[in-house]
Amino acid sequence: MEKFITLTSLAMPLDRTNVDTDQIIPKQFLKRIERTGYGDFLFFDWRQSPDGQKVADFVINDDRYEGAQILIAGKNFGCGSSREHAAWALSDFGFRVVIAPTFADIFFSNAGKNGIVLVRLPEDKVELLMQRAESLSHYKLTVSLADQTVTDSLGFKASFEIDPFRKFCLVEGLDDIGLTLRHAATLDSYEAKHDAAGWLKPKSSV
């Protein structure tokens, strides 16, 4: 996983609430067996009309935001299906940060595992950033994971909360399985005892 410390980038405003993972990556792209190559399908039904034309007024197709690595969205971003393909598509497209008032739980976890930093800010602050990103040309934000702040060049500054362990993993780019395997001995002894609890066995043969 790529390490994350500080990022300054163009910010893309997606002024919609409850953006579900079906919108982030529609089902027809979930049949692939790879982890990469989903960026072209990000927000597919919103960015492309049924006849394959670009939807001109959809923000991803707006040249002003080309190369943006920060996405600003409404509350409950990433709700719905557990598909990690949503995180893969955002990451593959180039996003490293999503700023929103709230995120859905499973998406929150999936994003972290793919090095995407999710920044929760109060609704009024997100609204202000959304307006600035919509109205000002080349509007950039700086997200510092070390300081847990979001800033712009106009004097905006907001702090955000992040679980210290999650921050540590993002900063170090750590692999979860490796971290869990530090507890291998504890796991072995737990499991031996746990296997004896017949009423928790999934199969009659376990």
Partner: protein, 471 residues
């Protein structure tokens, strides 16, 4: 000893390690796998040279991609789907995991198969790369959906690092009116608390209305917990739970059964235990519900009209309402019973169990599907299909003009050939009415199986409480 909630009891039983300043490492009793969210997890194991720690604690089936017609299954035309199903087959063989393949009498939607074969049991921790894993909470299990990286983590370690969720008690008290179902309970709850109303929480459903539900109904309620943003939903096991489990293939037998029932009976929230949040709902106030928008929280009672965005509480909500009505092709003020439909889908992990088939058949019996409607019934598993056919339900459906299909997720998410055409309006017993969920520009209305069957016959939504059942 301090009082504990059902959730706390199950959680504590599964704590492997609590490293300082890190999430708790919890043990996973069972992982369910399907073709769509597992290939990259197995590939990850291979790349890292890791094994599956406990192949005996995983089971797999094909459900998301699979066609629901016999011809379609014998000759799957979508080559990416063929490859994905073949990949699951190969991965299960390579890592020694039991698979219920397309030709197995045990194949079906993963959340229907788990309980019906007795894999799902009270007190267990269960995960699956599918958000509707919350279904299994109906047995008093802690069951939740995970992403593919977590699927890989469980395959490799049989554990997951998890931060402790908050607890949320929702008590539904009183008697449900005739025609008001488990589906209506959960649609009402989501409508009330919103699609992020339970984010970060495990819900425990309690109260006399929940107790009165069958196991199938309880699964319907827990299934859609995720639509309220919850991590999981749980219902304490009771005599109904034990009666459902007894004699199932993977249920304990003999002395082990008695021991298990004694342990499972402890899985209730203690008197005096506290929750982070509580909500009480009066069952008598509930009606049959229909979703009118593009989020499962956008629901209204069948007696209502399509809501006016001007009545929205906030500016942000108003914009959302307007966008939803435009997408759905609906006008504010239209009575929901005047909304015509083109298609009906009865099935899915929400409402694809035998009781759902019976409920829909009871409504359909002796009627004909409207000439303007195309309707299909997709049983949740081969076992549901076989039982329905034994009871003659398939004949009732076919005589009424419904198509009777093979098991799978089907038009719930339309990954297989069962897709709505643009702008088609569908009464669906599934769980999500998101934009494009059932096909690009498709318009989904979530309802109970009874309401879906009645809509198929009438050609528009009807209040099921006024339906005349023919003997």
């Amino acid at each position: 000893m301090s009082s504990k909630t059902l959730f706390e009891k199950v959680w504590e039983q599964h704590v492997v390690a609590e490293p300082e300043g890190e999430p708790t490492l919890i043990y996973i009793d069972l992982q369910l796998l399907h073709e769509v969210t597992s290939p990259q997890a197995f590939e990850g194991l291979r790349l890292a040279g890791r094994k599956v720690r406990r192949p005996d604690r995983s089971v797999a089936t094909v459900d998301h991609n699979i066609p629901t017609t016999m011809e379609g299954r014998l000759n799957v035309l979508d080559q990416t789907a063929v490859k994905q199903m073949a990949t699951l087959r190969q991965n299960c063989a390579e890592f020694g995991i039991e698979l219920f393949d397309v030709d197995s009498p045990d194949q079906g939607v993963v959340h229907v198969v788990g309980p019906e074969l007795g894999f799902t049991k009270p007190g267990m921790t269960i995960v699956c790369g599918d958000s509707h894993t919350s279904t299994h909470g109906a047995f008093g299990a802690l069951a939740f959906g995970i992403g593919t990286s977590e699927v890989e983590h469980v395959l490799a370690t049989q554990t997951l690092p998890q931060s402790t969720p908050k607890t949320f008690k929702i008590a539904v008290e009183g008697a449900l009116a005739e025609g008001v179902t488990a589906k209506d309970i959960i649609l009402a709850i989501i409508g009330k608390i919103g699609t992020d109303g339970a984010t970060g929480c495990v819900i425990e459903y309690t109260g006399s209305a929940i107790r009165s539900l069958s196991m199938e109904g309880r699964m319907t309620v827990c299934n859609m917990s995720i639509e309220a943003g919850a991590r999981a939903g749980m219902i304490a096991p009771d005599e109904k739970t034990f009666a459902y489990l007894k004699g199932r293939r993977h249920a304990p037998q003999g002395a082990a059964w008695d021991e298990a029932v004694a342990e499972w009976s402890k899985l209730v929230t203690d008197e005096g235990a506290t929750f982070d949040r509580e909500l009480i709902i009066d069952a008598a106030t509930l009606e049959p519900y229909v979703s009118w928008g593009t989020s499962p929280g956008m629901v209204a009672p069948i007696s209502a009209v399509v809501p006016d965005p001007a009545a929205a509480a906030t500016e942000i909500e108003r914009k959302g309402f307007e966008r939803a009505l435009e997408y759905m092709g609906l006008t504010a003020g239209t009575p929901l019973t005047k909304v015509n439909i083109d298609r009906v889908f009865i099935g899915s992990c929400t409402n694809g169990r035998i009781e759902d088939m019976r409920a829909a058949a009871r409504v359909a019996k002796g009627y004909k599907v409207a000439t303007t409607v195309s309707a299909m019934v997709v049983p949740g598993s081969q076992a549901v299909k076989a039982e329905a056919e034994k009871e003659g339900l398939d004949k009732i459906f076919v005589e009424a003009g419904f198509e009777w299909r093979e098991p799978g997720c089907s038009m719930c998410l339309a990954m297989n050939p069962d897709v709505l055409k643009p702008f088609e309006r569908c009464a669906a017993t599934s769980n999500r009415n998101f934009e494009g969920r059932q096909g690009r520009d498709s318009r989904t209305h979530l309802v109970s199986p009874e309401m879906a069957a009645a809509a198929a016959i009438a050609g528009h939504f009807v209040d099921i409480r006024t339906w005349e059942v023919k003997a």
